[in-house]
Amino acid sequence: MSDQPVIVVEKASKTFKSARGPVRALESFDMFVNQGQFVSIVGPSGCGKSTLLWAMASLWPLSGGTIQIMGQEVRSPRREVGMVFQSANLLPWRNLLDNIHFPFEIMHENPKRYEDRIKELLQLTSLTGFEGHMPQELSGGMQQRASIVRALSYDPQVLLMDEPFGALDAFTRDEMNLMLLNIWEKSQKTIVFVTHQIPEAVYLSDRVYVMTPRPGRNSRVFDIPLPRPRPLVLTTERAFFDIVAEIKQTIYDDVQAAADAGKYQMDTYAH
C-alpha cells in the first residue's frame, strides 16, 4: 500500500540545555511519510533537521510531541530503522567487510544469512573487491558508499540519512545521488533524507519538507512532480530549476522573516 503512512511525526519539539540557557532546536514539527516514499527535509544550517532525524533514530528523546514509525511510537532504537551519518562514520580499526558486519555483531545476528544481500549491495555500490580494505585506504565517496551498504545490509524498512554526502565534492555527490536512486528503486525502502543542498533534495525526492530557521518549524511542503526514473541530465532542465528556485525563495523568505522578528542573526548563526 503506497499511501499508508510509515512515519508520522506530530508536534515534534526538542530543547537543548546549553551554557547560555535552553536552546529550542525544533518546535511542533509535523511530517508524514508514506511507504516507499523518498522525502527530504531542507532548511538553513542549524535549523533542527538533524535533530529531528536523530530523534527518529531514537538517539535522543524529544522534549515534546511524538514520532511513530510503522505504527509504533519510537522509544528505543529499532531494527526496522537504519541510519546513515553525516561523515561515513566507519570504524577505522575494521576493514570494509567487518564494518558492514558491525550491526550484526551488535544485534547478535549471523551475517551469513544476509551474505547474498551484502554481495548485491557491494555490487550496486561498486565496492566489490574492496572488502578487505581498511577505511583509510578508501576514498571519501567509497567510505560513504560503504556506510550506506552497512545501513542497508540488515534490510531495515526505513532509512534515515543525515546529510550523507555533505563532505563530498559536487561530481562525486551527483554519482552518489544516482546510485542512491538506483538502490532505492530496487529496494522500495522508505527514505528520509536531510540536506542543505536544495538541488540534491529536489533531484532525489518525491516530497520536500522545508524547515524554518531555529527553532525548526514547518514552512512549506513541496511535492516534486518530476517523472522517474530521473537521469542526471534532468538537473539541467527548466522544470527542475523552477522547483529549486521556489524552494530557495521560500527559505530566503523564512530567514528574512526571522531576521525581521529579531530571531536570526547571520553572523552568530553558524554552529
Binding site: S18, A57, L59, Q86, N89, F102, I106, M134
Partner: protein
C-alpha cells in the same frame, strides 16, 4: 554556538591525533645496504672504543674494553641465568599487576570526569616520583624477599599504563557511539566494540612505557636489597671493581628493555596500525 547539535557532535573525529609514532623501527630497513651501513657504523664505534681503551691504557676498573665485556658476558652468562630468571619473574609479576589495575582504573575513572579530576594529581605524583626511593621503606615493611620489589614495579608501571590508557579512554567519538546505539548497543557493547578499540593504541603505548619503567625500577630495587636478581649483580661486581662482568649485566638489562620495546612495536603494528 556551543549547543549540542548532531552536526557539532559528528565533527569529533580522530583526525589530528596521530601523535603515536610507530615508525621508529619501520624507518629501519632490515635488509639491504641500509642495514649494512647501520651495522658498519656500530662496528666502527665499538672498534673505536676498543682502540681508545688500549691506546690510552685505560684501566679495566675505569672502563673495560668491549672485547673484555664480550668475554665476560660469555664466561659469566651461565652464572647469571638464575639472576636473569629472578629479574624477569619479578618484572612480569609486578608489571602484570600494575598494568591490569592501571587499565581497569583508567576505563572506570574516565567515565566519571569529576572523580578523575580528584584522582589525577595522585597518579601524577606516582608517575613522577621514582618508586625505587620507596624500596627501603617497603623492605622494612615486607622484608628482603621479592615482595617489596614486585610492589615497587607495580607502583612504577601501573600509573604509567593508567595515565596513557586514560588518554585513550577519554577519546569519546560521539558519532561512533551513536552509530553503535542506533543498532541498540548496550553500554557493555559500546565499551567492547567502540571505546576499547578506540583506546587501544594509547593502551599499547602505556604498556610499552610502563614496561620499561618497570624494568628500571626492578633493577634499581634489586640493587638495594641484595639476594638474587640482575640488580644485585650490579652492586656485587661494582663493589669488587669487576667492571667487565658489570657491563655484561648492563648489556643483558638493555637487551631485556629493547626486547620489551620491540615486542610492543609489533603488537602496536598489528593492533593499532589504523592510527598511523
Amino acid at each position: 554556538m556551543t549547543t549540542e547539535t548532531p552536526q557539532a557532535k559528528d565533527k569529533v573525529t580522530l583526525q589530528g591525533e596521530g601523535f603515536i609514532d610507530w615508525s621508529a623501527l619501520t624507518s629501519i630497513n632490515f635488509a639491504g645496504t641500509q642495514m649494512l651501513i647501520i651495522l658498519g657504523v656500530a662496528a666502527l664505534v665499538i672498534a673505536g672504543i676498543e682502540l681508545a681503551v688500549h691506546l690510552f691504557r685505560i684501566p679495566s676498573y675505569v672502563f673495560p674494553a668491549p672485547s673484555e665485556i664480550a668475554s665476560a658476558l660469555v664466561v659469566s652468562f651461565p652464572n647469571l641465568v638464575p639472576h636473569i630468571l629472578v629479574t624477569l619473574q619479578e618484572l612480569a609479576t609486578g608489571y602484570l599487576i600494575g598494568a591490569l589495575i592501571g587499565i581497569i582504573l583508567a576505563a572506570v575513572i574516565t567515565q566519571f570526569p569529576f572523580i578523575e579530576k580528584i584522582i589525577t594529581p595522585y597518579i601524577l605524583l606516582l608517575v613522577t616520583t621514582p618508586m625505587v626511593a620507596l624500596v627501603p621503606l617497603l623492605i622494612l615493611k615486607f622484608g628482603f624477599g621479592q615482595t617489596p620489589r614486585i610492589i615497587a614495579i607495580a607502583l612504577a608501571s601501573g600509573p604509567m599504563v593508567m595515565i596513557n590508557s586514560s588518554t585513550g579512554f577519554r577519546r569519546t567519538d560521539a558519532a561512533k557511539i551513536a552509530l553503535a546505539r542506533s543498532y541498540g548497543a548496550t553500554t557493555l557493547q559500546i565499551f567492547q566494540k567502540v571505546r576499547f578499540p578506540l583506546a587501544l593504541p594509547m593502551i599499547i603505548v602505556g604498556l610499552m612505557v610502563g614496561g620499561i619503567f618497570g624494568l628500571t625500577t626492578c633493577v634499581g630495587a634489586e640493587m638495594v636489597g641484595g639476594g638474587m636478581g640482575l640488580g644485585t649483580r650490579l652492586t656485587y661486581y661494582s663493589s669488587l671493581a669487576r667492571m667487565a662482568p658489570f657491563f655484561a649485566v648492563i648489556i643483558i638489562v638493555a637487551i631485556i628493555g629493547i626486547s620489551l620495546y620491540v615486542l610492543f612495536y609489533f603488537i602496536g603494528k598489528k593492533w593499532a596500525s589504523w592510527e598511523a
